[in-house]
């Protein structure tokens, strides 16, 4: 179905393409501005140490089967000793209240500023400047309910709902160009709003006031109940048993290596005593 409406080609060059270009460039601009505005995040040494302790405890738990029992118990004691272990040390409850903590507040403000505000401003400008005519036809059929949303400013009741105005073309651009920013700017770019919003939501959930001890308690419990089982137990027997044919040869070769090591040790001792 080709054009059932003939659209002026001037719309194409002065509306259609410029909106794409504007959205793309504004996104890139936003990325660089947010890089400039957000300073270096100051790392608190205590916080970093605590989070690394948690990571280390988890690594110990996951790989406990590779170390002998004595080594594991030694490490477990270092973590779980009453009153002085890494995990059981008393920590002052950190008041990470969202409203009173200044650094979090400014981060949130900056995030909001650099992401939502340009979108609103430019959306409003485009709506004001390019209003009153249709911009393009979306290739899929839309129901009539969308008409009021997508055809702001055009009051034709008979017009197919697929013909949309420039504001809706702008929003389609904003959403569609998000993944292209990942291509162009590399990972972790500030033009990706979705990640920003996710970060905001997860940041608000992480700040638990007065309960900073909870993850440590959880790790302590997990270490306590861990059932240690060394996988390398009796591994020499397994090795020798499975390779019965070469076992004798291996044993002889090991014998030879041990003898030569002893000889070199003796010769070293002889040299040093001279």
């Amino acid at each position: 179905m080709s054009a059932d409406l003939v659209v002026d080609s001037q719309i194409r060059s002065w509306v259609f393409l410029p909106i794409v270009v504007i959205t793309f460039l504004v996104g890139i601009l936003r990325h660089y501005i947010s890089l400039l505005i957000s300073g270096q995040k100051k790392l608190d040494q205590n916080q970093l140490r605590d989070s690394q302790i948690l990571v280390r405890a988890r690594v110990l738990r996951e790989n406990a089967k590779f170390i002998p029992k004595a080594a594991f118990i030694l490490r477990k004691q270092a973590f779980n000793k009453d009153g002085d272990g890494y995990l059981t040390r008393r920590r002052p409850p950190s008041t990470q209240n969202l409203m009173t903590d200044p650094t979090l507040m400014t981060d949130m403000l900056k995030g909001n500023l650099t992401n939502v505000l340009p979108m609103i401003i430019i959306g409003g400008w485009i709506n004001w400047m390019f209003s009153g005519f249709i911009t393009t036809k979306v290739p899929f059929p839309l129901t009539l309910r969308f008409k009021s949303m997508l055809q702001r400013g055009i009051e034709l009741t008979h017009l197919d709902a697929s013909w949309v105005s420039s504001a809706s073309w702008y929003f389609l651009n904003v959403f569609g160009l998000r993944s292209i920013y990942t291509l162009v700017l590399g990972e972790n770019n500030a033009a990706d709003q979705n990640k920003q919003m996710e970060e905001q939501m997860s940041g608000a959930a992480i700040t638990m006031p007065n309960d900073a001890n909870a993850p440590f308690k959880a790790e302590w419990e997990a270490l306590e109940i861990l059932d240690h089982h060394w996988v390398l137990e009796g591994v020499e027997g397994r090795l020798l048993r499975d390779n019965k044919k070469c076992a004798r040869k291996k044993w002889h070769s090991m014998h030879v290596i041990v003898i030569t090591q002893a000889q070199t040790k003796r010769s070293k001792n002889a040299l040093s005593s001279v």
């Binding site: 080709s2 054009a3 259609f16 036809k137 290739p139 059929p141 959403f175």
Partner: protein, 113 residues
């Protein structure tokens, strides 16, 4: 795909190299975005509308999945990815918007103007 994930001792325990998995997934994401853009342009040029366009997107995603599996080697894809199904359905909706954008754009350029 350049990096490989390491398999541990092959009884039941398999150790995956985290860096390799992440690298592979980011490469797949890159491919997927380019695929969404290109298939959107193709759909626009072909003049597909409505349901045909949706079917074409699903067809493109599936064919990309096949190509990735083919490149990883049909028998040892396990060395590179953890699960095939996640590979298929991971970025579906994220790239859908890119597809629709390119589709609308090229459709508008070619058929409306």
């Amino acid at each position: 795909m350049s990096s490989k994930s390491r398999n541990g001792n092959n009884r039941k325990v398999v150790a995956y190299s985290d860096l390799a998995i992440r690298n592979n997934l980011s490469v797949v994401e890159y491919c997927r975005t380019s695929m969404a853009a290109l298939s959107g342009c193709t759909a626009g040029v072909l003049g597909l509308t409505g349901l045909y366009g949706a079917v074409f997107y699903i067809f493109a995603v599936t064919s990309l999945w096949f190509m990735i599996l083919f490149k990883a080697g049909l028998s040892n894809w396990k060395n590179y990815f953890i699960s095939r199904k996640a590979l298929l359905t991971n970025g579906f909706f994220g790239q859908l918007f890119t597809y629709i954008l390119c589709w609308t754009f090229i459709y508008g350029m070619v058929h409306v103007y």
